[in-house]
Symmetry: C2
Subunit: 317 residues, 2 copies
C-alpha cells in the first residue's frame, strides 16, 4: 500500500487553459496560435497539459481544431498531453492522435449533468463503460498505455441543487474506480468548496483509495481557490488542475471567475518551498502574453503584482 | 496561562476599510457619507472598526475629518472603535474623541519605516514610549481603559529590502510588549507572505506570548490573502484585520491589490463553520454600495458571485 504523506514536498500541475479556458472564450484562437502557445507551455515544467476537447464542433466551436492541435504540437518527454472526450466518437478521434491521457467528464449531481452533458451521473457511467471498451480494443492504447482519467464535476456543490452529499461523491468515485478508471479529478466546478470541506473529502478519498491518483480542480469564484488548494495539499493531495491566467469559468454560473490561476498556484507553493517542477519566470512570461492571445484582461494576480521577491526602489525624500 | 487552541471556533474581525481603504482613494468621501457607512458597518457584528487616522490633514487629506467622524458615529455595545495614531499629537486628538482603542504603526524594516513614516523601527519605538506616557496620563484612558495596539508593517517581507528575518520580528514584538503595548497586529503590508511562513510565525508568537492578543493583517496582492488567513487560523489566530470590498493597497507597491476582503473572509470562515459573529448578508448589502461610495469597482468576489449557497435555475433544454 502506498504511504499517504500529508503535505507533499512535490506537486504536479495539469494546465487546463487550452481546453477549460478557451472553450468559453468569445473568440476563436487560431490553430497556429494555440500550437505555439501549448508548445511554449510544455517547456516550463508543467507535468500535463489538457490540450483540447474532442467534442462536436457545434457544441464547442472554439475547439473545432482538436485533431490539428494535438497532432501538430511538439511532444516532450515528461509532459503528458491529455484531452477531454465526451463520448465514444471523441475517444476514437483522440486515440487516433496518440494522446497520452484521456479525460472523461461527468457530474456528481443530476441537474448539472443534465444541463452540461444531457446525462445523469448513471447515464455518464454507462457511457464510460462503452468508452473504456473502445480504449481496451484500441491499438493506440495497447501500444502506448493511454491513461484514463475521469473528472467529477460539482463534487463540492451544484449550482442548481446545492450540497452534494459526500456519501454520493464517494459512491460515484467507487463506481468510477470499479469501471477501470485510473485517475479521478474532483472538481469544484463553480467555486462552492471551502477549505474544511476540501480537507474532509480529500482525506476520505486518500484513505479509501491510496493507490488512485486524485487531482483537485478548483475555481476562484469566491476568492478561495488558493485556500482550497492549500487545504487539499495539507490533506496529502499532490496533483492540481489549474489554468494559466485564471482563464475559464462556468456557463451556468454568470459572474463567476475562472479556474484557479496556474502561475498564482505555482507562486504560492514555490514560496512555501514545495517543488512544483515549474519554471515560474518562464510561465509568467507566457501568462503575460494572454491578453493579446485572447483579447482581454485575465484574473491572474502574480503577473500584475510580480513575485513576492519583487523589489521596489524606495522613494526619494 | 491562556490555553492556545489551534483552529479557533470563533474569530473576530477588525474592519479597516474606513481607514486603510479610504486613505489611498483618489477622492474624498464626504464626512456624512463616512458616518452613515460606519454606522451601517457597526450593526453587522464586526467586533472592531478602524474608523479613521488622526494624521496630519496634509499627509492624508482623505481623513482630515477624523474628529468629526469619530464624535458623530453611533457607538454600539460590543463594537470597539479604533483609530490609527502616528504621533503624540494624534494620540491627544484621538483620546479627546473617546476612542476605545488606538493603533500605533511602525515598520519591521528600516527602509519601509523611513519611506512610510520617516522613522526607523527604533525611532518608532521611542515615539511609542512618548505616546504611552500620554495615554497613561490622560483622563480619557484612565476612565475608559483605552486599549493600545501596535501594527507591525512589513512583518512578512519588505518591498524594498526583501525578507525580514523572523528573529527581527520577534525582537520587535518583544520590545513592543515590553513597552506596555497590549495587542500586536502582524501586517503583510504588500502581500509577500505565504502560508508556510504565516504558520511558522503565528505559532512562534502564540507560543511565546500566549496572553497577548495577536491580529493578522493580510493583503491579497498575489491571491494568497485567504490562504494566509487560513494558515494563521490553523496556527491558532482568532483576530483578523480586513477591508470591505478589499479596499486598500500600498502606495509603494504599484499594481498591488488591496487588503484581504472582509466579506470574502467572513464567507470563507462561515462556510467552514467558524463563527465570525458577522451577519454576512447585511455585510454584503453594504459591500454592494461601495462602488457608489468611492466611485469605482472593488476587488471583492463574493459580492459579485454570490455566496456559495447561491442557487441558479437550470437552463431549459
Amino acid at each position: 500500500m502506498k504511504l499517504v504523506t500529508p503535505c507533499p514536498t512535490k506537486i504536479e500541475i495539469n494546465e487546463v487553459a487550452p481546453r477549460d479556458g478557451l472553450q468559453i472564450e468569445a473568440r476563436f484562437v487560431p490553430t497556429e496560435e494555440k500550437i505555439r502557445w501549448i508548445d511554449a507551455l510544455s517547456t516550463t515544467g508543467l507535468r500535463r497539459i489538457e490540450a483540447t476537447s474532442f467534442t462536436s464542433p457545434k457544441a464547442i466551436p472554439n475547439l473545432r481544431d482538436a485533431s490539428d492541435v494535438v497532432t501538430s504540437i511538439q511532444r516532450r518527454e515528461g509532459v503528458d498531453i491529455t484531452v477531454l472526450v465526451p463520448n465514444v466518437k471523441g475517444t476514437e478521434r483522440a486515440l487516433a492522435c496518440q494522446v497520452d491521457e484521456i479525460n472523461l467528464v461527468m457530474s456528481a449531481s443530476n441537474s448539472h449533468g443534465l444541463a452540461n452533458l444531457r446525462m445523469t451521473p448513471e447515464q455518464s457511467l454507462e457511457q464510460f463503460t462503452a468508452i473504456l471498451e473502445v480504449c481496451q480494443n484500441s491499438e493506440a492504447t495497447q501500444d502506448r498505455g493511454v491513461f484514463i482519467n475521469a473528472s467529477l464535476s460539482t463534487t463540492f456543490g451544484c449550482p442548481f441543487e446545492g450540497k452534494v452529499p459526500e456519501s454520493r461523491v464517494l459512491e460515484l468515485v467507487e463506481k468510477l474506480i470499479g469501471l477501470g478508471i485510473q485517475g479521478v479529478t474532483l472538481c469544484d466546478t463553480t467555486g462552492m468548496a471551502n477549505p474544511a470541506q476540501v480537507k474532509r473529502l480529500c482525506e476520505a478519498v486518500l484513505k479509501r483509495w491510496p493507490e488512485t491518483p486524485f487531482t483537485l480542480h478548483f475555481h476562484n469564484t469566491r476568492g478561495m481557490g488558493l485556500a482550497n488548494a492549500l487545504a487539499a495539499w495539507q490533506a496529502g493531495i499532490s496533483r492540481f488542475d489549474s489554468s494559466l491566467g485564471g482563464l475559464g469559468g462556468c456557463p451556468f454560473a454568470p459572474g463567476a471567475t475562472g479556474n484557479v490561476c496556474t502561475e498564482d498556484l505555482v507562486h504560492m507553493f514555490e514560496s512555501m518551498g514545495v517543488d512544483t517542477g515549474v519554471d515560474l519566470d518562464a510561465l509568467l512570461e507566457i501568462a503575460a502574453t494572454l491578453p493579446d492571445l485572447i483579447g482581454h484582461d485575465v484574473p491572474g494576480q502574480v503577473v500584475k503584482a510580480g513575485k513576492s521577491t519583487r523589489r521596489y526602489t524606495p522613494p526619494v525624500r
